[in-house]
Symmetry: C2
Subunit: 319 residues, 2 copies
């Protein structure tokens, strides 16, 4: 019997999960070759603009395989507001029976993406983060801060967005979570004032340029997940001491790294994979002065890990 | 609000649909470039053996995009019995909202596959079919006969299978549908006695050899949908007067055509696409003596067409 869960049921159990730990374990398994993750399935729409991603696969030791569908459609180019939606499906290996459908409306994709941002910060952020910069005042820009909270001590934040209205809403929402939020319409304010920067936009042209980036900064670029999207000047990756990909194979064709490779500003052999950063201290930040960049395109292991954890939590007898 | 339908609800409306017509229209749109169908997503398992296919895309003029998941797992290599499962998902373009989930347990994949077999027979079978040969006594071997009924007059059938038990069950089931069924454990009986042959097995080595194939035969090979599966000796395609692919791009890498191309027994430019056969009389069977082969790997347009039709039927106010 297939179990179908809706968003409110999923939200009820999410706090019980150790999402950051689950995602960290997923990246480790991925980089150790313990998972099967085929290339991302993709539909890209022009009018109205949007994209759909199908991410799927399994851990070799698991009883399930997972197929995740997540979409983002701009309602308006101008406001840069996304409508995101989607679901996650767990199937039993050996029979293909649908064990459960998580009608999460893209919520779990936001959670597993933010948890990846936290994993990255754990190993790559400077020890002393004096201020966090967030580019993008949408759902993911909020979620990133939530999941950084247990990893990063700083509560000082500057957020950049496309209009004051969305910035005011962001400030209102996130100050409830204990952050001091400043807002800006000028992305260079982020570069100048923050040493942990997270980009969370669907931009197709760079928001930060290389000359703005100072020593000791870590940037997590998680908005660009298609071959076209682009949040960072590729020369930032050239300037960086350490460039980390969530998945090297995916980053060869999508995200920031793909742009830097195409522009001949980065060599493939200089890219390090996140799962290896987690397990190898030599690949982590080694000094406060380093510039580090992590490019997150979103890997199916994250979807596999979060959906299994949610399914297990939902399957427990409720008190 | 997402609508979720189960198999029994889906089966109730299937008879009201013109499945063959819907699938025919889908192939036309596909070959005319009016659809977007990315490469098939695939998971292949070794232990226990099985495969999962994700087929997806949309017609440019439609309001929906469709993602279909279908799996086949052998419970036992020996009995050659599949457990098939899966579902079809319709999403609204422009928002990505899940309009409906058809929990069809692979039933609609069987329907749309059999309907494609009927479309092929309509344009490629000899005018006088004296006996139909079916290789494979599973769900698809049954469904093919059902959908051929409105296209082909002959009710004489020989079915080949791996053991007498499954053949006896097949005979019992299909004689109820008005066919005279003979059974055989020797595939050459099919080649010798039938001039419309349908292969519907998950075989990975040829079941029919080229020297067995006589003039005036049409073969629809629909079992092989992965790069590995293989039901026909590739020399049959070399011997054929006409080789038709449901999708040329898919058949370059999966199905019978892919094997014949790799063996250098077929040229890519000699392959004709089914949607073009439908619209161009010159590409259809032109004499009773021709040998024709259609290779069906299963194209997302079929899933798109059948799921839209089912969704529409299910959305009608019930009497």
């Amino acid at each position: 019997m297939t179990k179908i869960y809706n968003l409110s049921q999923i939200k009820k159990v999410i706090k019980e999960l150790h999402a950051i730990r689950e995602i960290e374990e997923g990246f480790k398994a991925y980089s150790q070759g313990k998972s099967v993750v085929p290339p991302v399935g993709e539909l890209i729409f022009k009018n109205p603009p949007g994209d759909v991603h199908i991410k799927y696969g399994y851990l070799m030791d698991d009883d399930y395989y997972v197929i995740k569908i997540a979409s983002g459609f701009y309602e308006s180019q101008e406001s840069n507001q996304y409508t995101s939606d989607g679901l996650m499906l767990l199937f039993k290996k050996g029979t293909g029976a649908l064990a459960c459908a998580l009608l999460d409306e893209c919520y779990l994709t936001h959670v597993r993406t933010a948890a990846a941002g936290a994993v990255v910060a754990k190993y790559l952020a400077p020890k002393q983060v004096h201020r966090i910069g967030i580019l993008g005042a949408g759902a993911q820009g909020r979620m990133q801060l939530k999941y950084l909270k247990s990893i990063i001590n700083s509560r000082e934040v500057i957020v950049w967005g496309l209009n004051q209205k969305e910035l005011d809403e962001y400030k209102k929402d996130m100050e409830k979570s204990g952050y001091n939020i400043q807002t800006t319409l000028n992305a260079s304010d982020i570069a100048t004032n923050c040493n942990l920067i997270v980009t969370a936009t669907p931009s197709t042209s760079p928001l930060l340029s290389a000359d703005q980036i100072e020593k000791g900064v870590h940037i997590t670029a998680m908005g660009s997940d298609t071959p076209e999207k682009n949040e960072l000047d590729p020369r930032i990756l050239q300037k960086a001491d350490l460039v980390v990909a969530d998945s090297i194979s995916q980053c060869l064709v999508r995200g920031e790294i793909n742009h830097a490779l195409k522009a001949d500003l980065l060599n493939e052999e200089d890219i390090v994979e996140l799962g290896n950063v987690i397990t190898d201290k030599e690949l982590q930040r080694s000094s406060e002065g380093q510039i580090t960049v992590a490019d997150l395109t979103g890997v199916a292991v994250q979807d596999i890990q979060i959906s299994k954890a949610v399914y297990e939590a939902l399957s427990l007898p409720q008190a």
